[in-house]
Amino acid sequence: MSETIVMPKLGMTMTEGTITEWYKDVGDAVEKGEPVLMISSEKLNQDVEAPNSGILLEKFGDVEDELKVGDALAVIGEEGEKPSPTDKKDIDPVSVEITEFEKPASPADMPKQQGVTKHQRSDRIFITPLARRMAANHNIDIQSVTGSGGKGRITKQDIERVLESGAEVQTESAHELATHQSAATVSEAIVSIGQGLSPMRKAIARNMRESLTQTAQLTLHRKATIDPLIDFQKMLRNELSASNSELKLSLTVLLARATVLALQEFKPMNATYQDGQLTESDEVHLGIATSLENGLLVPVIKNAHQKTIGTLANELKDVTERARNGEVDQALLSGSTFTITNLGASGIEYFTPILNPTETGILGIGSLQEELALKDDGTIKAIKKIPLSITFDHQIVDGVAAAEFLSILVKYIESPYLLVL
């Protein structure tokens, strides 16, 4: 009995995937669990494994072909077996293995509708004009929505359920903020944006475009005197080397720690806003913008507020390395409540970072600046300053408030002993 492999759904909003590489050819023997091909979806690459042992009977698509989630990729069966003509069509998308974040868009207690209106590429989707408009506004992929209206139509109710199910995830397990709200997940529904680009660039394109269309962004700049923090860093390093620790304590880690404390003190900046719902978070999940050779990823340090400077340093190193090595999964890329981006190494002073969608703030760090300062006694001395740029969503936060956040951050940078209290 042959079995069909379908384009898996990685995360809640994935609607299509690209075939990146075929490991097997038609006629090749495959073992159950053996990778058959690699697919990519935006930032993620994933191997698709054989569901059973047998011969690869048929492949549907070549490298770089884009297929919808649930579309057939390949058929595996016994030697000499002819793939039945129904193999390609009779796929139950519900059986597709889904990630831990996947929540069915439709309520489970609607057995009548289960599986009825998940759509194949060729299916006409019956959806009311209102629901279609709402789905477009919220970047919901209607292919993944089950219609509960008359004749299986997708109605406003169904779209609201999708939106609510996202909100429920957030309340139930706040440590796993709904993937679709996270910056790392993009809205595939803005289909035309990023066309012709690589999956990663496409994702970045959509993400940035979405950010600029959905928010009212404004950036404030301010410098903080960083000499005390540098002194503090030196002191800690001395302590660490004295205790033979291999921990490398970068200024970035200390700035991250300062940011976490500032966010806890000033929660409006540690918030997400999506689908009309503003969520201020007690927990800080810190996104770290990490540049790659041909793009950008934002791995997330979960529960950064619970980490000491030491663990923070380890985790920072860990997540950025994993991002650079491509060892990422949805969990690593999702759930951030605030993001830090550092262009200090590039010699940039101030800039205007673009918000990581659904977050209300992003901190840009520039390169250290040497300045002359007038001391109390009238003499002049050289000091170092660090330029800080805070971009915030003016829909949620006003300028004075954002300035207040910066002040708090500056307080922690200039009084570094607070970082360990």
Partner: protein, 351 residues
């Protein structure tokens, strides 16, 4: 204002009487609007008249006694003739109320409305006005069969230059009748005979209700039902019956079917996303289909389901009691038709 409870018929009678007291150019003309003309024993010693009919339903009873036969004019059974006369009189300074006993008789009265009254002002470059109120009677339910039970207000409503008012209750009937008489245009005032006995609070004072404005009689967020005349009761019943399911129905009494209040209906549909129109007319080329067409166009992006029109079937009005009952739209029929667009609303509240 003092409030009393009077019938639909009395409310209309009172409106006519008040306007006739206020404006001596208002006349009532029609077959047997008084009845008993030139019957000696119906004449009082002081010269006042009693009526024999006061309209075939007795609606205009008493008017001839107060206003005399010069202003409450019985005509031969000659609809074309007296409707032409009413248009001619309206064009030249009177403000007639002309009664068409049953709207089914419009066949004999149509030309004066269709080709004369509705078009004169336009054709004459705005140099005429036709302040004519056409009172007529529509609706099935009385066992009056195929030629006395039709619902034809939509036919009038299709004519440019004609306004059509369909009241659903005694309060509206009086206010709309006074507004119709005040209006300087040809207004058809179509009364459902099944509402004649319905009682309601009606102030004694003179008041008007704006023509062209619908009335939101029940606010709701899930489903809009637009209903006309007698069908407003049906809409209310549907709303009550859906209430336990948590379906929150908005009921709009259209009041005027030409020109109908697009703004109110569109705003409601923008809120609810779902629309049912109940109209006792036959199902094609009627007010309901017109509303459906306009909403499908102007509120397309707000629709969360197909627009449903609930009308009489595409048949003449049958005579037999059970057939006639099956003919008239009722709450069961609305719920049957509406099920497709509200089943998901019901589910959502069960969960």
């Amino acid at each position: 204002m003092t409030e009393r409870t009077v019938t639909f018929m009395t409310a209309i009678n009172e409106a006519m009487a008040q306007s006739m007291r206020k404006d001596e150019t208002v006349i009532l003309i029609g077959t047997d609007v008084a009845g008993g003309a030139e019957v000696d024993h119906l004449v009082h010693e002081d010269g006042r008249y009693d009526d024999a009919f006061g309209g075939v339903f007795g609606l205009s009873k008493g008017l001839v006694t107060e206003f005399g036969r010069e202003r409450v004019i019985d005509t031969p059974i000659a609809e074309h003739g007296y409707f032409s006369a009413a248009v001619g009189a309206a064009a030249t300074g009177l403000r007639p109320i002309a009664e068409l006993m049953f709207n089914d008789f419009v066949g004999f009265a149509l030309d004066p409305i269709l080709n004369q009254g509705a078009k004169m002002r336009y054709m004459f470059g705005g140099k005429a006005k036709i302040p004519l109120t056409v009172r007529t009677v529509h609706g099935a339910g009385a066992g009056a069969a195929a030629q006395h039970s039709q619902t034809l207000y939509g036919l009038f409503g299709a004519i440019p230059g004609v306004k059509v008012v369909v009241p659903s209750n005694p309060y509206d009937a009086k206010g709309l009748m006074l507004a119709a008489i005040e209006d300087d245009n040809l207004v058809v005032f179509s009364e459902d005979k099944m509402l004649y006995g319905v009682k309601g609070d009606v102030p004694e004072d003179y008041y008007t209700i704006e023509i062209g404005k619908a009335n939101v009689v029940r606010e709701g967020s899930d489903l809009t039902i637009v209903a006309i005349g007698k069908m407003v009761q049906v809409a209310q019943e549907v709303a009550e019956r859906l209430n336990p399911d948590g379906v929150d129905v908005e009921v709009i009494d259209l009041r005027t079917i030409a020109p109908w209040d697009q703004e109110t209906v569109i705003e409601s549909v923008k809120k609810t996303g779902r629309l049912i129109v109940i109209d006792e007319s036959n199902p094609h080329n009627n007010t309901a289909t017109d509303i459906a067409s306009v909403i499908a166009d102007k509120a397309f992006d707000y629709l969360d389901g197909p627009i449903k029109t609930v009308c009489a079937p595409n048949t003449p009005v049958p005579f037999a009691a059970n057939l006639e009952k099956a003919y008239i739209p009722d709450a069961d029929k609305v719920l049957r038709v509406a099920d497709e667009i509200i089943e998901d609303l019901k589910k959502s509240h069960v969960m």
